[in-house]
Symmetry: C2
Subunit: 341 residues, 2 copies
Amino acid sequence: MKRPTIADIAREAGVSKGAVSYALNGRPGVSPATRERILEVAGRLNFHADSNARALAGAKARVVGLTLQRPPSTLGVEPFFMELISGLELELSRQSYALLLQMASGRDEELAFYRRWFAEGRVDGVLVCDVRTGDPRVAALEELGVPAIVIGPPDASGGLPCVWSDDAQSMVEAVEYLAALGHRRIARVGGIAEFAHTAIRTAAFTEVAARLGLTETTTIPADYSGESGARATRRLLSTPDRPTAIIYDNDIMAVAGLTVAHELGISVPGQLSIIAWDDSPVCRLLHPPLTALTRDIGAYGVRAAHLLLAAIAGEPVASTHGAPAHLSPRGSTARLQPTTA
Amino acid sequence: MKRPTIADIAREAGVSKGAVSYALNGRPGVSPATRERILEVAGRLNFHADSNARALAGAKARVVGLTLQRPPSTLGVEPFFMELISGLELELSRQSYALLLQMASGRDEELAFYRRWFAEGRVDGVLVCDVRTGDPRVAALEELGVPAIVIGPPDASGGLPCVWSDDAQSMVEAVEYLAALGHRRIARVGGIAEFAHTAIRTAAFTEVAARLGLTETTTIPADYSGESGARATRRLLSTPDRPTAIIYDNDIMAVAGLTVAHELGISVPGQLSIIAWDDSPVCRLLHPPLTALTRDIGAYGVRAAHLLLAAIAGEPVASTHGAPAHLSPRGSTARLQPTTA
DNA sequence: CTGAAAGCGCTTACAG
DNA sequence: CTGAAAGCGCTTACAG
C-alpha cells in the first residue's frame, strides 16, 4: 500500500525508469505503444510523481509564492485579496501549480520569505503586491534574477513585468462624472500614501481637478481602515466650505463616510455624493447603495499567474494592462442641489 | 554564487556532510565546538537547506495545506477566512512551516487536492473547513491516516481532532438577551443548512425558544450572500405578525437585513432588533452599529495550526474548544417598544 | 564523538 | 526508440 514510484510502474510495464519518466512528462524517447502502456499502468496505480524528487532532480517545484502584509485591520475586510487569490489559482491550477501563501508583518519580512523560499528551492517564482516607489523587494528580486511579477503599476515595478490598470483614467472618469453633476468642491480620502498606485491616483485627481477649474480640492491621506475613513470624513464635513462630493480609496472607508454623513445629518446623495474605489457586495447593500469604481480583480490574478508561469518557463514576458476600473453609478451620487450648494 | 549545500559547509568547516546535518538539525552526534563552528559557517554562507532534498530524504516537507471553496460570492466578503489564515500562519511561521492554499469548486475537488498533495509528498498535514455532517473529506482523510485537523464542530469531525467553540451556548446567549429586552417574536436567517455548525445553531435556537416559551420563532435558510439575506428579511418583515428581532448567521446578511428594514420604513432598533453572528469592521461602521456575536477567529487558527503540527510530530492530539462567541451589544438591538409590539 | 556510504524518487544526458 | 547510470542535496543508520 505504499505510494507507487516510477520503479513500480517500470516493473509493471516492463520498461526502464527513464522510459516511464519520458512517457509521463510527454517527452520524446518512447514509442506511442510503450507510452500508452506506461500511462495506463500509471493511471491504474493512481501514480503521482513525488514533487520533492522531481524538484530535486532539476524539474520545477510547481509552486509560486505570495506574501501579504498581515492584517492590521483591513486585509480581512477588503475583498481585493481574496478575489485576487481566486483568480491566481484559477490559472495556476490549470497548470498544476500550487500557491504558497505567507502573511508577513512588513516588507523586510516579506523579502526574507522570498529569499528563503528560493534558497530552499520551495518556489519557482513569486508575486509582489502593494508596491511602493523604490520598493526594496523589487530591487532585491531583480538582483536575485528570479521569476517575479508585480501586481501594481509599472512606475514602481522596475525591470519586473507587472499587471495593473490605468488608475489615472478611472480617477478622471470619476471626477468628470461628479463635475458633470455640478459638483465643484470635490474631496478625496486616499489610501496609504506610500503605495505607488495611491500616488498615481492623487496625481490624477489633482490634475483633472485643475483642468476642470476645481480649485477647492483636497486629498486627505488615510489607511483604508473604517476609523481613518470616518475621521477624514468628519474633518472634511466640518469645514465651512465643506465638499459636496468625496471619493474614497476603498469601500470600507466609503461605508464609514456614509455613516458619518448620516451622523452629521448630511443627506446622501442630497447634500453629499460618495464614490467608493473598488466595488464590493457591501457597497450594493447599503442605503443608498454606493456608486463605485468597479474592476475585475480576479482577471488581474489570472493574468498575473499567466505571466509568472510564462516567466518561469523562460519565455519573454511583457507587462500588461487590464481594463481600468469603471464607474458603476448607484444611489450615493446625484446632481448637486442648487439650494444646498 | 550557486546556493551553498551541506557539502560546501562540510568542506569549509573541515567535517563530514553527516556532521553538518546533525549540527544544523540540533541532533546529538557532534561536539559543542564542532557544532558551533558548523553553525558559524552556515550562517556566514547564508545557508538554507534545500527543502526538496530534505523532504525526499525522509524529513518533513514543512508545508500544510488548506483548501477553500472558491468564492461564489461571500468568501471575499467575510473576514472569517482571512482572519483564520492569519492566525494559522502566526503559529506555522513559528515552526518554519508554510501554508499551501488552494481554492476548490466543491468538496470532491477539495478531496482530490488533498489526495494529490499527500501522494506527491507536498504536505505533511491538512486543515478542513466548512464541514458537513457525514462529510466525505473527513472519512477519506481518516482512511488515509494522514495528519488532519477539522476547523468545525466535533459532531462532524469523526475521528479527526477539531477546533471549534460552543455555538449553542452563544445562540442561547443571543436569544436570552433578546427575550430579556422583551422580544417574543424572534426570527433567524441561517447559513448554509448543510454545514454542521448551522445545524447546531438551528437546534440551539429552536431549543432555547421553546424553553423561553417563544412559540413564533422561524429559521429561514440562506446562503450567506447579501441577496439571500435581503430576500429572507423581506419575507420575514412582510408577514402580518412580523418578528421584532432577527439573528443573522453572518455579517453580510445582517447588513442586507438592516437595509431592507430601512427600505420598508421599519426603524432599527425601534421596531426591529438585529444581531449579526461574526463581528466585522463593517458592523461597527453602520448606522446603527450592529450588535454582533464576536469571536477571536485568529485564535482558532493559532490553535488549529498548533494541533496540526503536534499531529504531524506524532504526538497525541485532542480536540479543543475555543472561547464561544460572545455578545457585543451595539445600537441595533433595543428594548421592545410596547406601542409597536 | 565522527566519517563514509546508502538511499529517498525522480530527471537527464549518454551509450547502445 | 530504449536501457543503464549518474546525480540532484539532503538524512540516517552503521561502523569506527
